[in-house]
Amino acid sequence: MGKERTAVIGVGQTKYASTRGDVSMAGLLREAAQRALDTAHKTWSDIDAVVMGKAPDFFEGVMMPEIYLAEALGCVGKPIMRVHTAGSVGGSTACVAASMVQSRVHSTVLTIAWEKQSESNAMWALSLPQPFTTSVNAGAGGYFSPIMRRYMAMSDAPELIGCLVAFKDRQHALKNPYAHLHQHDLTFEQVVESPMLWDPIRYSETCPSSDGACAMVLTDEAGGDAHDGPVAWVSGTAMRSESNSYGGRNMVSPAASEQCADDVFAQAGIHDRRAEIDAVEMYVPFSWYEPMWLESLGFADKGKGWQLVESGATALDGGDLPVNPSGGVLSSNAIGASGMIRFAEAALQVMGEAGEHQVDGARTAFGHAYGGGAQYFAMWIVAKDK
């Protein structure tokens, strides 16, 4: 007996914003969860279990918030579970939720991920002091920028590829009402002229800090068939991790990333990744990660990912492999939610529910998340057809 076919029948998101001062953490989650239930045509009593995820508790200073969220998410008397895999957590959470349906443990599962970054300072939370040593590196940008420099050196990519990605994603975000950044008047020149924060990375090439939540309702084959509305069928889920430091580690394209991609594409029966995937939502918190992941995920040959960016192949308007039509992490970054947003946006594409940022005729879409020192990976593939 194989896995139970699993369907996404509901997606809900909050508007992403720098501060959601009008709602508590519970209220924020509730907003996304209620919207997911509404699109799934479900009520709280239809949900068998809740699987939630967020990044480290230091991002809000609420320890184990899952414990206080049972009432808000209708899971009093039901199983509640929290997943934690650093920045990839939103993706991993969706994978764990899907596994509960795939394994026939539960029929209908609500999965949700969030961050309320306005209540803390992510750079502080990611740079906690340690005795006997001192910090020599500022936040996530300080960690990832040398890796991007290595990619730039190895690929010999033109200097402004990162700016092209940032400008494209911000343009995409204008078509997504939920996106945090809506920079209507932004020009490519402004992206280029933005100050270097972590040279070679400009301020304009980094993600914002957002409050927000994203939720999905997953159900079994019978539930998907019976759903009176669009459905995204999950055709593959995979997670991998690796140590973040060992001799000869490929930090530009970590082994765990490539293994995770091989696994998820094999599950979905996809051979020509670029040709068979219609829309990609990948975790790009810093601009150069788009060409880097395009290569690591097998959408482009090694050293050639930037050519897809430069040619416009990854743009929603006219590209054959639109990447982050939602505007991506570069336009909305509620850290814990960011991975789930990628997964949910992939689902919306094959459901035909992406609105203005819909990729015409999308039938198969790819959702991706990574976290830690590029050492945790979560991916899924969703399809219009069962």
């Binding site: 519970a26 060992y246 082994a255």
Partner: protein
């Protein structure tokens, strides 16, 4: 090993804020005004403190009702001697107190001199703080109902305060301070002691030959304990770097722009982050040879901060063979199945 494993205090603290949302915000606004509010559920029962959503059916709760300011101790335990950071100036009993008119108890303190003055079922009433800000500590605690020694124990009524006409509480300060006793462990302790003698040590994986610096005690490639300690020179090369224009909160001494780099020491298989100093950040290159800049001998201590940074040696640049891979992939370094 001659030295002991190191240990040091580590304090993590941050002045978090919490957004209350409308229901808890209303409750806290009430406390600031000297009023206690509960929330009514669809079955008519009242929860205090209020929740935003009904535990039974997850429906949103909105109807706030004012409650009397006295009630009954449902259960309690004696808190023992006063502890630092507790918002009381005396020992207290922790108690579940069900206010009259409420169907759920709230956790708070009863301000009595000793456990002999506590009993389940005893009647207590609120003692308010004089200066209130919209926080649970606006209630100093509860005192026995007959006790009239505390100031401002008198109840207010809803007629005295119109909560719609005062500024609503929307967030609450939730500072967190965690006191840890940090230990870097055996392998890193050895490394830190060696630093006092201006020595850099790593450790070697028996299966792959990889050398890790700082040492870890375990090989992430083989999943086994490392087999030996290795002395490394204080010279190496820049594997990659950035030029950072963002300050580091814990490094007020470090003025941007500065160069953060992955440094790979000669003989090491992995890099670690350090600052490249004594040169213009713009002159730093991939493969640039660097050496450690140590603190003056008289300032050396058991600490990695003995290395102030890394400066150019002036030697020819290292040729990085495989630009994607961080660290050396020598022929002696068989890679694990993860490769």
């Amino acid at each position: 090993m001659p030295e002991e494993v190191l240990q040091a205090p580590l304090v993590l603290e941050y002045p978090f804020t919490g957004t209350t949302g409308p229901v808890v915000g209303r409750f806290l606004t009430g406390l600031r005004e000297g009023v206690v509010l509960g929330v009514r559920r669809s079955d008519g029962t009242v929860m205090c403190p209020p929740l935003e959503y009904d535990p039974a059916d997850a429906s949103p709760l909105e109807e706030m009702v004012e409650l009397p300011q006295s009630g009954e101790v449902v259960s309690w335990s004696w808190g023992g001697p006063r502890r630092e950071q507790q918002p009381f100036d005396q020992p207290v009993a922790w108690a579940l107190i069900q206010l009259d008119g409420a169907d759920t108890p709230m956790l708070h303190a009863v301000l009595v001199d000793g456990p002999e003055q506590m009993s389940t079922g005893m009647r207590v009433q609120i003692k308010w703080r004089d200066e209130r800000e919209g926080h649970i500590t606006d209630i100093c605690g509860f005192v026995p109902e007959s006790d009239e020694t505390g100031p401002k124990t008198a109840s207010k009524t809803s007629t005295t305060v119109d909560l719609d006409s005062v500024e609503a509480v929307q967030s609450v300060r939730t500072p967190i301070r965690l006191n840890y006793s940090y230990t870097p462990g055996r392998a890193l302790s050895e490394y830190l002691y060696a630093m006092k003698d201006k020595r850099i040590i790593g450790d070697r994986c028996g299966d792959t030959g990889q050398v890790f610096v700082p040492p870890r005690g375990v090989s992430p490639v083989a999943g086994k304990a490392t087999i030996e300690t290795v002395d490394l020179p204080d010279v190496g090369y820049v594997e990659s770097f950035n030029i950072t224009r963002v300050p580091i909160a814990t490094r007020p001494d470090l003025e941007p722009p500065y160069c953060s780099a992955w440094i790979v020491l000669d003989g090491a298989s992995v890099g670690f982050m350090g600052l490249v100093i004594n040169c213009e950040p713009e002159s730093v290159r991939l493969g640039m040879r660097v050496r450690a800049v140590w603190k003056p001998d008289e300032e050396l201590e058991v600490s990695a901060t003995n290395i102030l940074g890394w400066e150019p040696t002036g030697e020819a640049d290292e040729v990085i063979a495989d630009i994607e891979r961080i660290g050396r992939v020598g022929p002696q370094q068989k890679r694990g199945s993860a490769s």
